[in-house]
């Protein structure tokens, strides 16, 4: 089979690669400007010190750590979801997995670099290499994020190989890139077997890594004895929150690029509906964890814990706290549990509120505990500076730019998996269904029903 023939049907998926519109350059221009501005302010921070931020004593961690946790959380969108969907053989995964994996790889790189922004002496980062200490949760993070980054990049790359080969075969430029990256893929059955086998292994391997990443990030906080942080449910709580925000980010990206690249044929309402139900479930789960976390604190009534508790519930952070509850629970549940509102627009709105809510949640975890130290010190204040805002915007811009560039070079929807779906999924599903059911049904009957 010729690559061109194979892909002819899915031309829409290659449009973004083979055609570059003005808007692309505008978008790149905007993102680069934002990034340059952030880089400029970061340079200022390096030169004059972390004083340019709003951090102080006792609130010695601010936006950088908040965003670190937030971005890493979003990165769970991807590989984890795609792995779970693949593992559960959910057929509707086919147009989704690629985007999810891309989000992971890009956001993880951004998130992983955030602690460096936070360093007072970034030039001494090599001390981690020469004399790092594995007993520090920060090193656990470094290790697990590196592992997750490596694994998810590989996990993005491997299913990309057949698509790269298609691009190579279509003669898309730059040819050398696709030749180089396609690794000699020719789509032979044996090659398929090799690739699928490896993907399956990685798929299983990447799930525990992903879980571990956000668990150890929560450990940064949970391993201290500080009120509001020292909690055993922090690990799963963070993981749930991460998946939650990850799905929301995935949904937003899907909706945006569906619109931009006219992928309505591939990303149908049903995909959004399924994913948004997953989001709804995560919302409920998130609320359950939040409830557990705060109820135990409140019932325990330990004075230092209560100071943090009331700081969130009725103190300075109450607006953020209740906004978080609104954004993470009330709005998504209200929108997503109703079939009428569970449409693209509603889902987009809910996803945005979830992203905001989850960011607030990270803020609410990091700052109030620091702001209310033990021993009756006065409550700390934290007002982020322009540098911190700019670097936050810069982080988002890097993500957007990264995604845009990826879309410029690679298909955002796994072409070969779509084709594979077309070719074999009905048969496969029919086969699977037959094995679920108590009665011996004819495969043809099922096929008919499926159509």
């Amino acid at each position: 089979m010729n690559g061109n023939e194979i892909a002819a049907k899915d031309d829409a998926l290659f449009r973004s690669i083979e055609y570059t519109g003005k808007n692309f350059y505008y978008a790149v221009g905007i993102f680069v400007t934002v990034i340059a501005f952030a880089a400029f302010l970061y340079l200022g921070q390096i030169i004059s010190g972390l004083g340019v931020t709003g951090m102080a004593q006792p609130v010695s961690w601010g936006f950088y750590i908040v965003n670190f946790v937030f971005f890493i959380g979003i990165s769970h969108a991807g590989t984890l979801i795609s792995a779970i969907l693949r593992l559960s053989k959910a057929e509707w995964r086919r147009p989704i997995t690629r985007m999810a994996e891309v989000i992971t790889a890009i956001v993880l790189a951004i998130g992983g670099l955030h602690p460096i922004l936070d360093l007072g002496q970034p030039g001494r980062i090599w001390h981690l290499a020469t004399s790092g200490r594995l007993q520090s949760p920060l090193l656990w993070d470094v290790t697990s994020i590196t592992a997750y980054f490596a694994a998810s990049t590989v996990y993005l790359f491997l299913p990309l190989i057949p698509d790269i080969a298609i691009l190579r075969d279509r003669g898309t430029k730059p040819r050398w890139l696709y030749q180089f990256l396609s690794w000699g893929w020719q789509g032979t059955p044996k090659q398929h077997k090799v690739l699928n086998r490896t993907i399956n292994i990685l798929m299983i391997g990447v799930i525990p890594i992903a879980v571990s990443v956000h668990t150890v990030i929560s450990y940064i906080f949970a391993m201290t004895v500080q009120p509001g942080w020292h909690s055993t449910i922090f690990g799963p709580y963070f993981v749930v929150g991460a998946i939650f925000s990850g799905i929301a980010a995935l949904l937003i990206v899907m909706i945006v690029f569906r619109k931009v690249y006219h992928l309505e044929n591939y990303l149908k309402e049903i995909h959004f509906s399924y994913l948004s139900i997953l989001l709804l479930i995560m919302s409920l789960l998130w609320f359950y964890f939040t409830f557990c976390e705060y109820l135990t604190t409140h019932y325990g009534n330990e004075p230092d814990e209560m100071r943090v508790f009331f700081y969130k519930f009725s103190g300075d952070f109450a607006p953020y706290f209740w906004a978080m509850i609104l954004c993470n629970f009330i709005i998504p549940v209200a929108i997503l549990s109703n079939k009428k509102t569970r449409k693209i627009k509603g889902i987009l709105f809910a996803s945005f509120t979830v992203l905001i809510g989850m960011w607030l949640e990270r803020l609410i975890i990091v700052v109030p505990s620091l702001a209310n130290p033990r021993l009756g010190y006065p409550t700390g204040i934290y007002i982020p500076s322009i540098t911190e805002w700019a670097l936050f915007a810069g982080g988002i811009a890097v993500f957007m730019l990264g995604f845009l560039l990826f879309a410029k070079f690679f298909p955002l929807i796994s072409v070969w998996e779509i084709q594979e779906g077309r070719a074999s999924s009905i048969k496969e599903v029919a086969h699977r269904l037959r094995s679920y059911l108590p009665d011996e049904l004819e495969e043809d009957e099922i096929k008919k029903a499926l159509h």
Partner: protein, 84 residues
């Protein structure tokens, strides 16, 4: 770019991945030594080492396996799949 160069680059990238993975592992091992020297909580360090070291090796192995698997199972005719 000639197929030869590309081939070379592909091998080089595989080599680079191994260098990366091995250096991460060497790093972790060196940190284990540091931990021992500093009397740090050795169990935490060993725990991380036990998981992380094979993990990175696994990732590199998977990539290598795919690469060589694809090379091996190519159809003989180079022109058919490649350059139209």
């Amino acid at each position: 770019m000639s197929p030869k160069t590309i081939k070379f680059l592909q091998y080089a990238s595989i080599a680079w991945i191994w260098i990366f993975v091995l250096s991460v592992d060497v790093w972790i091992i060196s940190l284990l030594i540091v931990a021992r020297r500093l009397h740090d909580a050795i169990n935490a360090s060993v725990g991380i080492g036990i998981i992380a070291i094979p993990l990175f090796l696994l990732i590199a192995t998977a990539l290598t396996y795919v690469f060589f698997g694809l090379q091996k199972h190519r159809e003989v005719d180079e022109t058919r799949g490649g350059n139209p």
